[in-house]
Structure formats: C-alpha cells, structure tokens
C-alpha cells in the first residue's frame, strides 16, 4: 500500500493534488483538569469538488480534528497538534501566524454549528461580512459592499441590501446560517469546513441549507469537509465518509461503501440506531449500550471493544489500524477487516 | 471660530506655550509664588462669615483684619490700640476713650468717634451679647468729640476693658463698607491686613498700606483651609506652608509636633499655655457630693505621667485652675505624685468599702465620664488613662464619647457624672472661666459646670469679679483656695501652645492669646 500510494503521489498532476491532505494527525487538548487525546493518528485527503463527511458521536473528536489544525478551537482550549496537515501542498504546521491569517481568510471557509453564537450579536451583518472582504481581499468599501450583496444573493437571502443592516437577532436561524455560509465563502476558499451546519436548525430549514451547501460546493468547485452526526445528511450530500470513534477514524470510504456495506461494528451500530422509515409504530429503538471511553485515560486495545457485539479477546490487547476492505474502503477492526497477510498495513 | 487657519493655530499654540509654565508653576493657589513676601499659614476651618459682630467667623482671621480699642498685652496688661488712652471713673461706670488720630480703614474711611459708635451700636447692650459684662451692664454711649467717646455702664464691670480686647464682636468695621441699612457686606477694618478674597478654599490677605502702626514685614498672607491634621503636616513637610499651630488656627497634636520636630528644616516652638484641662464633677450627683470621693479621684491621677504619655510632654501637669500665664492665676500649688493608697484610705474613711468596685449603702462607686473630642481634643486617650487610674482605687468609671451636638445638649443639662473641661484661657480668664464654670447663677447654655456651691462658693466668686485692682488678686486666691480645700475639681494639665515654622520664618513671636494669629513680630527670612 505504501508503495502504491507513493506511486499515486508522483503520478498525480498538480491539478489533482488534494486540497486537504491530513497525515498522522494527533491532537492533544489541555483542559483545566486533564489532558485529552482528542484525535489519534488520523489521515484523509479531500480533493477539489469532493465532499468528505465525518460522522461520529459528540466527543468523538470529529470537530477538533478539523478545527484544531486551523487554530479554531473555542476560546480557552489549548491544543497541541501533531502530524501534518497540508492545504494545497502547504504545511500548516510550519506556517507563521501571519500566513495562517491569510490562509484562514482566503483558503479555508468555516461554517459553525450555531449561527447565533457564531455571529457577533452586537454588530450588523454587513460589517461582519465586509470586514473579511476589506481586510483579506483588500476591497474598497464600495466594492466590498457590492460583493457582500452578491454573496448574500448567492446564499439565497432575499433583499440582501436591507439584510446587511440587520443584527443577527433580527434574522431567523436559517438566515443566520446562510449569512455564516456567505462569510465562509467570502474569501473564495478552496476548502469549506462545515461543522454540524444544520444541527441547530429546524427540519424544513435543514433541508434548504443542505441543498444550498451542495449547490455552492458544486458551483464553486470547493473541497468540503462536512462534520455531522446525522447519517441522513451524509447520505444526502457527501461523496466520501469517515466514521470517527474515540478520536480515531474507524472506517473511511465512499458513501456507498460505508453506508451500504459497513465494515466496522460501530458504523453498523450507528446505522442501526437511525429509526427506519418503515419501522413498526411502537417498536423498540435500536441503540448502543455503554458510553464512549474517557479520552483522558484511553483504553488499551480497540476503543470500541467494550461496546462491540463482535468483540474478541485480541481486540482488547492491541488497537486495530485502518486496513483496506477493498479499494479505498478501509476499516479499523481486527474481526471484520483483518490485515492482509502481506502485513503491509503495518509499514506506515 | 468659523475659520481657523494655520497661522491662528500657531499663534494659539505659542500663547499656550507661554501660558503653560505659568499654570504649572502656580500649581496650587497656595503654592509659593514668584514673590517671597507671602506667608502661608493654614487653618483647619474656613474663615466663613467675617462679620465682626457675629460669632460664626474664624477669629484668628478676623484678628488680622480688625482692630480693637485696646489690646491684650503680655500678662494681661491692657495696651493701647485704636484708643490711645482711656480713663475709667472711680465707680467703674464711666469709660472714656481717646481715639488714635489719623487712623483710616483700609477702604479709606476715617476711624473716628462716629465710626466707633456706629460699630458699638451693632452689638453693645443687645441680648445676643449679654455674656459680655460690658454689654450686659451697658447703659449709654456718647460722642465727646471727633476722637473721644464715652461709654456708661449701669453697674461696674471690672472685666470690661479685657473684654474690649477680644475679637468678636468688639472690633471695628468700616462704616463705608456697610450697606445702606448699616448691615455688614464685606470685611474691611483698620488692621494690618486687607482681605483679597476669602472662601472655602481659604483666605488671601495683602498688607494694609494704610495701617496706623508697624506694617507687616511681608506683603501677602495666605491662609489655606486644610481640615486634616495629617495633610497639614504633609504640606508643612513638603514646604508648602511656612508655619502652623495654635488652638484655633490649625492645632498641632503632640504626636504631630513630634513628627514635625523630626522633619528637616522645621522648628517646633512651644510656650506656656493659657488654659487648663480639668476633670470636673457634677455637683448635683449624690455620690459626688461627698468631698472624699472627689479627693480620692484627684489622688488617683498621675498628672506627670499623663502630661508625658498622653501629651508627649507638651503639657505641664498642674493642680491649679489657671496657668501662670493668666493674670490673677493664684499661688502655685505643688503637683502631688499619685497616691492610690491615700485615695483608698480616704474612700474607706468615707464609708466606701469592698473589693473591686467600692460600695456605700449598696450604691456602687460607679461614675460616667462624658467626653467629646470636639470639645477637648485628646479626650479619648486622656479619659482611658483616667478610667484605669481611678479603677485602681475602686472606682468604676464608664466612658461615654459623644459628638459636638450631644455634648452641647448633655453637659448644660447636667447629664454627666464627670466630664473633661477646658478653661477659656487668655484673654477671658480668670473672670471668664470662674463665671461660666462655677457661678451657680450664670447659665451659658453650652458649657456646663465644673462645680457649683451657691451657698459657699458664689459669694467668693461675686466678690472676686467685683473686686478692684488692689483687692483682686486676694479675692481670686480665695476662690481658688476654696476650690482646693473642698476638692471641688481636678485640674490635670496646662497644654502647651505649639507652633511650627519652616526656615522661611526667621523670627517667630507667639500671639498674646490663642484666639489670634501670630502676626506682629513675624519676620521672613
């Protein structure tokens, strides 16, 4: 596998170079009471025009994995990031703070979960969009205003010039999230990270925004990382999906591979927990027993072992790594996806 | 300011540049200005109303502006002031004053018989001023000629001349400065100083170039108001004041005196005080009617220790009612040491027995000592010492500290067992304190009594007050002897007069009384 990947890299034309390339990413979080290994040895690529969904329960590390390398963790949280995160071939780990500001403004756009708290409540929408246009793109006030109107139109906000004068609380949740998306795409980024973009919204609004995100991604030819816990959302708009559990990617592959032929018992359990549209009314819900491990004291062996229906004694000894389950579909499970005899998976 | 071009701006900037140093050099209104002729002396309170016929103004400031007919000289000698000479008839009822010729008020109005009588009319014989014997006994006054006036009394008032040396309401305002109805408008006198302004900040005075006598050595006198003792000491040490002190200007506590003494360039000067701190007994209280109790209290006091500890040595221990600086102060009595044993014996003999708090017929020897810091500064510390010294002999003394207003309610109404009093001092003594604190028939309404005995003491007092000069010393001595023999009061100490000055003051001369500001004889370096 190593050899084939190396070949692939050299064979890749610059145009096909992944927008985001993450290798061996680890994130340590320092909270007041403990040090938490929030992400362990994660790796994935996202190409131009591709949407990668990252699913998992809360606390699985899916948000931290995406935001920590960009320095976008919520205030007060200190993090140490290991491994490499390359954006269009540029290693973020060695970028200066000044360069990071440019990268954040121009190359990456981020949409956060709760649009109300993600916008400054005491400033009008206009300045909040325009400041990035002026400071990062160097537009003059007239141009930035025109561009802001254009952006609001792009995200489907009617009467954009009037809306620019509103405060966040004067808009609905859906409108606010559209504003947030407008801000995220303002710098014409190559990568859009959407962190649970529809979770805080009503179902009818969720549907609108998923359509919007999918359309914008196609239109602007962006790479997109979509962090979500809703498998339905994944099924709707993602190309590929990575399933996270306790800070590690336990399964990754195309949406069709992962959702229709899940390898990892955790992926299977997640899918089973979604109520079926044809389930009998009044029938019991399917869920997982137990709870995720405490990442300040990570367990030996497979982190999912205590909750796993397929668990075997060896699962508790050594943590499985991602092994191919056919093509790009990989899973980290000793039982369902044993490492191929060649042992090449260990060579990383 | 419609157009403000660059040239204007530069002009303004230039002006600001020249003005700024001026602003910053006169950082405080009282800071030393370019001339060296300003003497800076603080007072603790503002001068307020300088109306010479009212009592609300600050007398130390009034004393600089207005002159009396006669002045209080050293040892209580009456010396000429606006009156060059005077005669008193043998019956003591007719006073004739020959006014100094050529004296003018600082506004140019002449001081003559008319001006003098105009002033006297404003107070003499009126009820508000009846505490002054010259006013209480006033019958008539007349202009004899342009520079001679006469005052006629109904009855003899031996202290009359001394009273005329005092400040309010005795002193003379320019009739030209009054309004049409003859009411006070602004402070204009014949004194050495002229008021430039006087407000809550303080008073600014300039030399009166029309003054009839020796004019001041310096041309300005600045009297800032600094209420806090700590701040006055700091200002003095910072070189922002030239001198300070006095009972009524800006009192220096013994502790502050020590601080000032230690500061470089500051000299602390002291003089024998003219007043006395007295532990007085309420003679209407049953317990205190027993002379043994009063005697025992006196025996318990360690006056020397009190003067040394409470007053840091700025006091002379005493058993005399008046210090020698007051006329007719009487024979000096030796200050006895403390004798608790004698006190105990005196109490035992009088029937006060028992351990701890003594009792007699089931009545405990418990007394309340009412004090007020406003009336007698340092009362608190002094009262605590008294309390502990008396307790040793079997007294039980409780201290009640009250404010100014309560004291002025309780003391005149005799709501106390013991209290600390302070004699009036020069120029009011000895007649003032003898009358106010001991004469049973006199009510000042504010001061209370140190002791009264209508039957035995009053005749002695009346005799002393009426005595002519030849008999006066003996008559006062009789009063003082009676007080001593009856253990009527416990004088404790005479506080020293304390002033401090910097090296800017080359010569410092104490004023004759504490009611005045040091002025004559002050020479700046």
């Amino acid at each position: 596998m190593t050899a084939s990947r190396a070949e692939a890299t050299t064979a890749m034309r610059p145009a096909d170079q992944p927008v985001l390339s993450v290798k061996g990413l680890s994130v340590l979080l320092f909270t007041e009471t403990a040090t938490v290994r929030a992400v362990t040895d994660a790796g994935y690529d996202v190409g131009r025009g591709e949407a990668l969904a990252i699913v998992g329960e809360s606390g699985s590390g899916k948000t931290v994995m995406n935001l920590a390398p960009l320095g976008l963790l919520p205030g007060g949280v200190r993090a140490v990031v290991g491994g490499s995160v390359e954006l269009s071939g540029e290693d973020l780990a060695v970028a200066s703070e000044e360069r990071m500001m440019q990268i954040r403004g121009r190359k990456v756009g981020v949409v956060f979960q709760d649009p109300l708290s993600a916008l400054n409540p005491n400033r009008r929408i206009g300045p909040q969009i325009e400041e990035v246009l002026r400071l990062r793109l160097g537009l003059d006030p007239n141009a930035s205003r025109a561009r802001a109107i254009e952006l609001l139109t792009m995200v489907g906000i009617p009467e954009p010039d009037r809306r620019l004068r509103l405060f966040p609380h004067q808009m609905s949740g859906g409108m606010r999230q559209r504003v947030m998306i407008a801000i995220a795409i303002a710098g014409d980024p190559e990568l859009l990270i959407a962190d649970e973009p529809t979770t805080a919204l009503d179902v009818t609004i969720q549907a609108q925004l998923l359509e919007l995100l999918a359309r914008l991604q196609r239109q602007l030819h962006m790479a997109m990382v979509l962090v979500t816990h809703d498998i339905g959302v994944v099924a709707r708009i993602a190309d590929r999906v990575a399933v996270m559990y306790a800070g590690t990617i336990v399964e990754i592959g195309t949406v069709r591979d992962v959702l229709k032929r899940p390898r990892h018992p955790y992926t299977r359990a997640l899918l089973a927990a979604v109520p079926a549209p044809d389930a009998e009314v009044g029938s019991r819900f399917t869920g997982l027993t137990g709870s995720p491990p405490d990442l300040s004291t990570p367990p030996a062996g497979c982190a999912f072992a205590p909750r796993c229906v397929l668990v075997q004694p060896e699962c508790r000894l050594d943590a499985p790594r991602l092994a191919t389950a056919g093509g790009d579909h990989k899973a980290a499970c000793w039982i369902t996806t044993p490492v191929s005899p060649s042992g090449q998976e260990f060579a990383r | 300011m419609a157009s403000f071009n660059r040239r204007d701006f530069l002009l303004h900037a230039l002006a600001a540049g020249t003005v700024a140093p001026a602003i910053f050099s006169s950082t405080s209104v009282f800071a030393q200005s370019a001339g060296t002729g300003t003497l800076r002396v603080p007072t603790a309170r503002e001068a307020n109303d300088l109306n010479p016929w009212k009592y609300s103004g600050l007398w130390v400031v009034s004393s600089l502006i207005y002159d009396p007919l006669v002045s209080y000289g050293p040892g209580g000698k009456i010396v000429p002031a606006l009156a060059e000479s005077w005669t008193v008839s043998d019956d003591g009822l007719d006073y004739v004053f020959n006014l100094r010729k050529g004296v003018v008020f600082s506004d140019g109005a002449p001081f003559d018989a008319d001006a003098a009588l105009w002033n006297l009319k404003h107070w003499i014989g009126q009820s508000d001023h009846s505490w002054l014997s010259v006013s209480a006994n006033f019958e008539a006054m007349r202009k004899i000629d342009d520079t001679t006036i006469g005052i006629k009394l109904k009855a003899a008032a031996p202290p009359a001349l001394i009273e005329l040396t005092t400040i309010n309401p005795m002193r003379f305002l320019s009739p030209a400065s009054a309004d049409a109805a003859g009411n006070y408008v602004k402070p204009v006198g014949t004194g050495r100083w002229v008021v430039v302004n006087s407000n809550a900040n303080g008073s600014e005075l300039v030399r009166n170039d029309k003054y009839w006598g020796d004019k001041p050595d310096h041309d300005r006198l600045s009297i800032p108001v600094i209420p806090e003792g700590r701040s006055r000491v700091a200002a003095m040490r910072a070189g922002e004041l030239d001198m300070m002190g006095g009972s009524f200007a800006a009192k220096i506590s013994p502790q502050e005196a020590e601080t000032l003494k230690a500061a470089p360039g500051i000299t602390v000067v002291t003089d024998m005080g003219t007043d006395t701190i007295v532990l007085g007994f309420n003679p209407t209280r049953e317990i205190l009617k027993d002379p043994a109790v009063r005697e025992a209290a006196g025996l318990c006091l360690d006056r020397a220790a009190i003067a040394k500890v409470v007053m840091a040595g700025y006091a002379d221990p005493t058993v005399n009612l008046f210090p020698p600086s007051v006329p007719y102060a009487g024979r000096r009595e030796p200050v006895p040491g403390r004798n608790v044993e004698a006190a105990k014996q005196a109490l035992e003999a009088a029937g006060w027995t028992g351990d701890g708090t003594r009792q007699k017929n089931g009545v405990p020897l418990a007394l309340e000592l009412v004090i007020s810091e406003d009336a007698v500064p340092g009362s608190r510390a002094l009262s605590e010492v008294i309390q502990s010294q008396l307790n040793e002999a079997g007294f039980q003394v409780s201290i009640r500290q009250v404010d100014h207003v309560t004291r002025h309610d309780d003391i005149p109404n005799m709501k106390y067992d013991m209290s600390l009093f302070i004699t009036n001092g020069a120029p009011y003594d000895p007649h003032g304190s003898i009358t106010i604190f001991f004469l049973s028939t006199f009510t000042s309404g504010t001061d209370g009594k140190m002791f009264v005995d209508a039957k035995n003491l009053d005749p002695l007092i009346l005799k002393a007050l009426a005595a002519d000069e030849a008999d006066r010393a003996a008559a006062y001595q009789a009063v003082l002897d009676w007080l001593r023999d009856n253990h009527a009061i416990c004088p404790i100490y005479h506080a020293k007069r304390i002033w401090a000055h910097t090296e800017r003051v080359a010569t410092f001369v104490f004023p004759t009384t504490e009611y005045e500001m040091p002025d004559k004889g002050i020479v700046l370096a």
Binding site: S58, Q208, I231, A235, L259, L271, A273, A279, V281, F285 | -
Partner: protein, 327 residues
C-alpha cells in the same frame, strides 16, 4: 377514554415594549388517551412547547379548557389547579438546566418524594431503588452530581424524578434532541416501557420526526399556533394530507444514499413568519407550494374523517369525499 382533553386553548404573549401580540396557541384542541403516546411536531416557534407548558401550568391560558382526568383544570382556583395537575409531569429539553447543579441525584430524587408527602425515609429509599431499576440507572448514581453524568443518564434522572410523582401523563419537550443518536434509543425505549409497564400516557414534543413516528400512535402537526393536521402516525407519515406535513415528512433523510439521492423532496421556501404578524387566511400559505387565492382570504376549516383531521383549503372541494392527497 380521554385522559387529557384540550379544547380551544388560546395562549398569547405580549411584547412589553412593542405591545405586539403573539398568539402561540390559537384555538388548539388535543386529546390524549390513557397509556397513549401522542406526538406533537413542528418547527421551533410553532407553539408546541407553549402548548405543553400551558397544560402543566407553566404558562397562562387566555381561554379554552384543559380537562385532565375528568377535571376541568382552568375552571379551578389557583391552589386547586396545582392539586389537579399533581399527576402531570413535565420533562425539559435540557436536563442539565432542569437539575440543580450542586444537588446529588439521590437528594434530588428524595426531595421529589418529600414534596409528594412521603415522610418515611425507608419507604423513600425503597421507592427510589424501584425507580432506578425502572429507568435503568445504576444505584451508584445516587451520590453523583448532574455534571458527572452522561447526557442520557441526566435525562433519565429527570424522567426518574418525574416518575416519582406517579404521573398519569408525562409531557416531554424535546427529551432526546440534546442526546447523541446512540443514547436516544435508551431514552426512547424507556418511554415505551413506561407506557407498557406503568400505563403512563406521554405527549412527545419533538422536531425529530422519525423518532416521533416510531414512538407515537398519533401525531399532531403544529404550524404557527395551529394544529394543521393530526392522525395515526403510520398513516400520517405514509400519506400526509397537509402540504406542511408533507414537507416535514419529506425532510426525513434516508440513510441509504441511493434512496436518499433519488427521491423527490419538498423543500419549503423561506422561514416561519413572525408569530406577531401571521399571514392572513391560512398561515402556511406564504411557504405553501400549493397556495391559491382562497388561502390568503379565508382561514381553512378543519376537515375530519376516519381519525384524521386537516386544516387546508385543498380539501374544500372534496368536502364529503374521502380525504386523500389532493396534490
């Protein structure tokens, strides 16, 4: 028979500064039978929480009646109302906010029993251990504080506390929306067992439609203070009558990407209008893909047939005919 009958309930909020009126419940009627789980769905701001809160007495009703267990609550004086609502319990969306942070689970549960009037500590302990078993909580949890619990445990503690009052009806306002999907199942299954084992009736207020569908026998769909459609949940989901219900059910995402990407979805345009200035006529008309002139002029009446009801002008013409999807 009906355990709870809400009839023509009107609840209004007045904005103190503008004086505007928000009619959060506009002549709402609702029935809950004993031992029945009834779903109440709609977007935030549609009045579903207000309805629940008014039933338990957290909001003041302007008019209408709430008949619970045969008693017309709103006709009673204040003190008696509380008494009449004794068998009604409310479960909040955010269990952390509903629990006193410094209080241990044990004392929170104990307190609920003391309020109920149980004086005997031994009896209280026994009752608490029963309830822990019923809510599938470990007994070690009694000494812990809310922050030390997982989200699912917290919500189950809230439910346990509510159950100690031996309610006949639980009103659960978004009980699982703050929980991860794996935990939702635990809590939802608990509700189902409560109904089966204890006969507790439940009003399930939620915006997660798939969960409501599976749990409740009947579903009510609310829009801007009105119940626009109600009916047996299987039928309502399979064949929604109201265009709004149709949009809601259409918003349920399928986990199979092949199905999900190829199905037709009704995506509503725009947002919920301001409840202070609802549209004339049918309040849904501004977002309705089927709206026509009448919708702006008249408020639709309620059409009822065979256990299903709908408020929509699309059914004006079919009137007596069987209610079927008319679009």
């Amino acid at each position: 028979m009906s355990l709870l009958t809400v009839k023509d309930l009107v609840v209004e909020f007045r904005d103190a500064d503008t004086g505007g009126v928000n009619r959060a419940c506009n002549h709402v009627s609702l029935d809950v039978d004993e031992g029945e789980i009834v779903g109440l769905v709609g977007e935030s701001g549609c009045g579903k929480s207000t309805l629940g809160r008014t039933i338990v007495g957290l909001e003041h009703a302007r008019s209408g009646s709430i008949i619970f267990d045969g008693v017309d609550i709103l006709s009673l004086p204040g003190g008696r109302q509380r008494q009449a609502r004794r068998n009604l319990q409310y479960i909040f969306q955010d269990p952390l906010a509903a629990l006193e942070p410094r209080q241990t689970v044990g004392s929170a549960l104990d307190e609920a029993l003391i309020i109920k009037g149980e004086r005997n500590p031994r009896a209280r302990a026994a009752r608490i251990s029963e309830i822990l078993i019923a809510t599938n909580l470990p007994s070690g949890i009694l000494t812990r504080r809310p922050r030390e619990l997982s989200g699912g445990q917290r919500q189950r503690v809230c439910i346990a506390r509510a159950l100690l009052a031996e309610p006949k009806l639980l009103i659960c306002d978004e009980p699982v929306s703050s929980l991860d999907m794996s935990l939702r199942a635990q809590v939802m299954n608990l509700f189902l067992s409560l109904r089966d084992d204890l006969g507790v009736a439940i009003i399930l207020i939620a915006h997660d439609l798939s969960i409501v569908r599976q749990a409740s026998a009947r579903v009510n769909v609310m829009y801007l203070g009105r119940i626009v459609e109600s009916g047996p949940s299987a039928e309502l989901y399979a064949e929604p009558l109201h265009p709004y219900s149709h949009a809601l059910t259409s918003a349920i995402l399928h986990v199979d990407p092949d199905i999900e990407r190829n199905r037709e979805r009704t995506v509503l345009k725009g947002d919920l209008p301001s409840p202070f200035a609802p549209p004339s006529g049918c309040s849904f008309r501004t977002r309705c893909p089927n709206a026509f002139e009448t919708c702006a002029e008249l408020e639709p009446r309620e059409w009822i047939e065979a256990g299903r009801s709908v408020r929509c002008h699309l059914y004006d013409e079919v009137e007596t005919k069987q209610l079927t999807m008319a679009y």
